[in-house]
Amino acid sequence: MRITRHWYELSTAHRDRELHQLAVLPYFRLDRTTIGDDRRFTAIGTLRFIGRRSGRRHGFRIRLEYPAQFPKKVPRVFDHDNRFMPTLDGHLFSTHELCLTLPERGEFTMGSDELTQEVLGATLIWFQKRLIFDRTSHWPGPAEPHGINAVIDLLVERQVAPDAITISAWLLAHASTPNGHPAQPDLYASCPCGSGKRLKFCHRDDLQLIFNRVARFPTTSQLMDVLGIK
């Protein structure tokens, strides 16, 4: 079996550059890095900022888990001390991983040397917003809807369809087998954007984002529940 080599094994210079990046960010104090039994590179450290009016010093200990393909894939960020309660509206998975961004939205610059800085900056913002959320029970600023609906909203933003209902109805009609299981749609079906073109020649790439999500549902009825279709 072919063993995947991790990013830090491929280039010592890359590893050193990454360690330097972690060490110089003013809002992050690196405590330690480790390489686990699974050869995953992990960095543990504390994000910090000071309250503008209160002078309160906030600190948040996080764990960055680097994927083997870093920086082509984004490091995952965890609440290392389980400080916050995992909730959907609080954007924290039950594994204590932070829901920083909808991956399909592509907010981080993959392959960039600044990827870690982007992730840590976003994590610092997440931390500040989470403190506000814990006080007000309301997430400040825009946030994605939960689950597959986030991808549907993204497709609407990209004008794949005029609204979420159109996409949901289209998925139901074209991405489901007769025996009630989600399936890849016919590439020659008409595109939901209303152009009259076949999917293959229109928004195929955009819709591929949602097909990947649809495939995770065991039955169409469960998908319908999530989409709010009766």
Binding site: R48, G51, G121, E144
Partner: protein, 513 residues
């Protein structure tokens, strides 16, 4: 300097450690003890009758042209004379003890004869009548050209915690308990000048009970209907007469000619220990009252358990210490007087505009609430969460110090003081109330946006306002539309604007699977 979370947290932690090391003890007051030589960590549980004697028309006196002139010298002397006479009646004639002079309010306590509540009750009623006569008949006799005083006497019996917090070297007694609260709150001027609580009423014999008319939960007495107060007091074996009060007022008046009273403005922050009966200050200042809501109820709920009461005293000391530090260290204000579980503060700044003082006062109010809500309640929870109600007003204020050597009280008199107290009394904990003038002086839009007009309290009120909630509300508002954020060189996060020499931060749209 301004309030700072870390500084507040550190000093509260240090003070708690210090108090715990010293060890607070609470003991019931017994025959062998008195209220002298109490230390801050040595409190007494005292059964007795609390008396408040107030001049209810003080606000009218402050407006009276004859009293206003010469920088309020006459009012200042009136307070000096009346507190001396009330003290004489209480201490020398009725064996009571003075707790505090709170502006025009005189607070006394009767705890003798020991273990004889009925005797205390009768004693207190007679003392109240004598005080009423002194403040009306005797005073008007001596000062026949002055507006008459309209006194109100409030009395109630019960157990209260008494502690000496003597920070400035003077004896500074504070009392906490329902009896003191009731006595202070049932005051009503006019003809029904004496009001007593139910506990005290129940201790009176039938003859004395017959004097009082029930009015809700309290009992009121029209003192003008009591025939020959002098004779009643004399029959009880007390050597007091209206003439003796007239003589005392006259003697004290002669000893303190108006010309000897030096009332001046302030060129620097007032050092109240240097004030006295002949020296006072008249300054534009913000008055603030910060009261621990529910503390009296907490003390009552402990039902005399001295161990738990000791913890309650610790809590009081923590609040007292921190509010004082926030006032004096963070805002260069004057923590004027601890009145039970309440702090009276004065903020003035010679040379500064009134608007600046008012804005600073609003900041101090937020600082108080921040210390309590963000630090004490979050990090030093001893007997559950407690909140403070804060009232603030601004105006020209007479500041002095009255009493006898070793037992003087700061005195602060103005319409602003009265207004600030009334605002505070109308609020619940975790609320800040400020008058219209203070509100309009606030230049910081985020702070003024946190206040809304409250018609019933006739002031602007904010709820749960702290510096942390304030900055979070600001950031939440910015995040609604912000596309950029940055980490600044001083370690703060700047949202919506990109400061120079700062590190950009990425704002993402968080997601939930």
């Amino acid at each position: 300097m301004a309030w700072d979370f870390e500084r507040s947290k550190n000093r509260i932690a240090a003070e708690r450690k210090r108090i715990e090391k010293l060890g607070v003890t609470v003991k019931p007051l017994t025959r062998e003890m008195n209220l002298s030589n109490l230390s801050p960590t040595d409190a007494r549980l005292v059964s007795g009758v609390h008396l408040y004697a107030d001049i209810t028309n003080l606000d009218a006196l402050l407006q009276d042209p004859s009293q206003r002139r010469d920088e309020y010298r006459r009012i200042y002397r009136t307070l000096h004379l009346t507190q001396r006479e009330l003290r004489r009646i209480l201490q020398s004639l009725f064996c009571g003890d003075k707790i505090q002079l709170q502006g025009a309010k005189f607070h006394g306590l009767f705890f003798r004869p020991y273990d004889d509540p009925e005797g205390m009750a009768q004693n207190a009623i007679l003392a109240g009548l004598a005080m009423y006569s002194a403040l009306t008949e005797a005073y008007s006799d001596v000062f026949d050209t002055y507006p008459a005083l309209i006194p109100a006497i409030g009395l109630e019996y019960g157990d209260t915690l008494i502690a000496n917090i003597g920070i400035r070297g003077d004896r500074e007694l504070i009392s906490v308990g329902n009896a003191a609260n009731v006595a202070a709150k049932i005051l009503r001027g006019g003809t029904e000048a004496m009001t007593i609580g139910k506990n005290l009423y129940d201790l009176l014999d039938d003859d004395h009970q017959a004097w009082f008319i029930p009015s809700g939960n309290v009992y009121r007495l029209d003192c003008t209907t009591v025939e020959d107060i002098e004779a009643i007091v004399r029959d009880a074996g007390i050597d007091w007469s209206v003439q003796s009060s007239i003589d005392k007022f006259t003697e004290d008046k002669d000893n303190l000619p108006l010309a000897d009273i030096n009332i001046e403005d302030a060129r620097e922050i007032i050092d109240i220990t240097r004030l006295g009966s002949t020296r006072a200050k008249l300054v534009p200042a913000a008055s603030i009252f910060a009261d621990i809501d529910g503390y009296t109820a907490l003390v009552e709920s402990l039902d005399g358990d001295t161990d738990e009461l000791a913890k309650a005293v610790e809590v009081l000391h923590l609040f007292r210490y921190e509010l004082r530090q926030a006032t004096e260290s963070d805002h260069n204000g004057i923590a004027l007087q601890h009145q039970g579980d309440r702090l009276q503060t004065l903020l003035h700044s010679p040379g500064d505009d009134d608007e600046d003082v008012m804005e600073d006062a609003a900041d101090l109010c937020i600082a108080y609430n921040s210390s309590v809500e963000e630090v004490i309640n979050t990090h030093q929870d001893i007997l559950g969460k407690l909140h403070i109600a804060i009232g603030c007003a601004f105006g020209k204020t007479l500041v002095g110090m009255l009493g006898v050597a070793g037992d003087r009280d700061p005195v602060c008199i103005s319409n602003a003081t009265i207004a600030a107290e009334n605002v505070q009394l109308g609020l619940h904990g975790n609320h800040i109330g400020i008058t219209k003038a203070v509100y309009e002086s606030i230049a910081d839009e985020s702070i003024s946006a946190a206040f809304t007009w409250n018609e019933s309290s006739r002031c602007y009120v904010s709820k749960a306002l702290t510096f942390i909630s304030l900055e979070e509300a600001e950031d939440a508002q910015e995040y609604a539309t912000a596309k950029t954020a940055a980490y600044t060189t001083v370690g703060t996060i700047s949202v919506g604007t990109r400061a120079t020499e700062s590190v950009p931060l990425k704002i993402t749209r968080p997601y939930s699977a």
